[in-house]
Symmetry: C2
Subunit: 207 residues, 2 copies
DNA sequence: GCGTGTGAAAACCTTCACAGCT
DNA sequence: AGCTGTGAAGGTTTTCACACGC
């Protein structure tokens, strides 16, 4: 369920604030969802709450972390160390959530050897070796759209089965490979769409 | 509808490849969705296709661009020029899709004055002035989670009605303000969740 | 009394399948 | 013949509302 990480994050802030017990209402507020939905979601994992009382923050936190695999350390490679790859390599949210960036790769020879976030950029050709050496299961594509399919193919060939794709391209991959796409400009476009609706539509009506 | 920008991007690649007419099947393939869904979505905008023939790429492209407001130029401000803000400021996908970054703001005095992507970083306090001067309707928050709510409050006070939030925080804003959240690490966590499912779950079952 | 867990209802989204136009 | 536009079917998610346990 795609909302579990959000709940986990909300639980973490509650725990940091010293809260030890919370109601579904309270947690739902912190996570930005409605409380019935939260209870349905949690009931799907098991009965971790106490009727009349609520949820134990620490206990629930552990249960969700286990459910979504945050007890592991997931080795990750990032391919394409341009602006975005740079930002991702430095992004603390990855390391603090059980993701370890084991390698940064780039096809551009001018970039290999540079050190970013304490890791040296290596040539793209090293991918297969790194994947098998570290048991990498997740790859991040931050390369330009034109290169994205090649990168994905190489990742699949190297044995990666989960890909997070930041390139604005639709990837063709085998059935068993999971791809999630994040497109920064699409989010902005969606906002612009709503914005246009709000401020008197300019000729966009259908008759 | 959140898929229109995807269709538009697919149409652009088709146009670049010299295609002048396409079937729903063809376009759906390029956009990574199924053709019935694509036809439903497009039929919601109007009848822009021709039965027995398909869609005219250029015409449909214009219709979608108009629908989602890509005929405008949307002035945007980015607040928080750390690694991510840096990457966003340099991201070509914004400018090429009708978004013009009119200002980069950061609360840290050490950063103000630096030039990123050809734009000088200005102090956060300049926000209100910039918003009214350029008629900014969309704000991007790339600040740390702890500052996100303050930034959002200032944006709302300055008159911004649409916010793209990259900080891992739930924002409280007035009803009429639109917030979209992008959380880079949540996407990775979702992949890790599926990955764990695939490779024999480790003690995560109920009972 | 309070708040979880959960059937049942409602809303929503996707897919099917075909009538109707070119 | 071929492909769009769309009602109807099917599936999934969200919400409601309340029985049950603390």
């Amino acid at each position: 369920m795609a909302r579990l990480p959000v709940y986990l994050r909300a639980l973490n802030s509650l725990a940091d604030a010293g809260t030890t017990t919370c109601s579904s209402e309270h947690l739902a507020g912190a996570a930005g969802v409605n409380s019935a939905k939260l209870r349905k979601d949690l009931s799907h994992l098991g009965s971790y709450g106490t009727r009349g009382v609520g949820y134990d923050v620490e206990y629930l936190r552990y249960q969700i972390a286990r459910e979504i695999g945050q007890t592991h350390d997931w080795p990750v490679v990032i391919v394409g160390i341009g602006n975005l790859g740079h930002a991702l390599a430095n992004y603390s949210g990855f390391s603090s959530r059980g993701f370890r960036t084991v390698a940064l790769l780039d096809a551009d020879p001018a970039r290999t050897g540079q050190v970013v976030a304490g890791t040296e950029i290596r040539p793209f050709g090293d991918l297969a070796g790194i994947v098998s050496e570290h048991g990498v299961a997740i790859g991040v594509i931050a390369a330009p759209a034109s290169a994205a399919q090649d990168v994905a193919d190489a990742m699949v060939a190297a044995g990666i089965r989960s890909i997070l794709n930041f390139a604005p391209a639709v990837l063709a991959v085998p059935e068993e490979v999971d791809v999630r796409k994040v497109d920064l400009s699409i989010e902005l476009q969606i906002l612009a769409y709503h914005e246009q609706r709000k401020s008197g539509l300019d000729g966009a009506e259908a008759i």
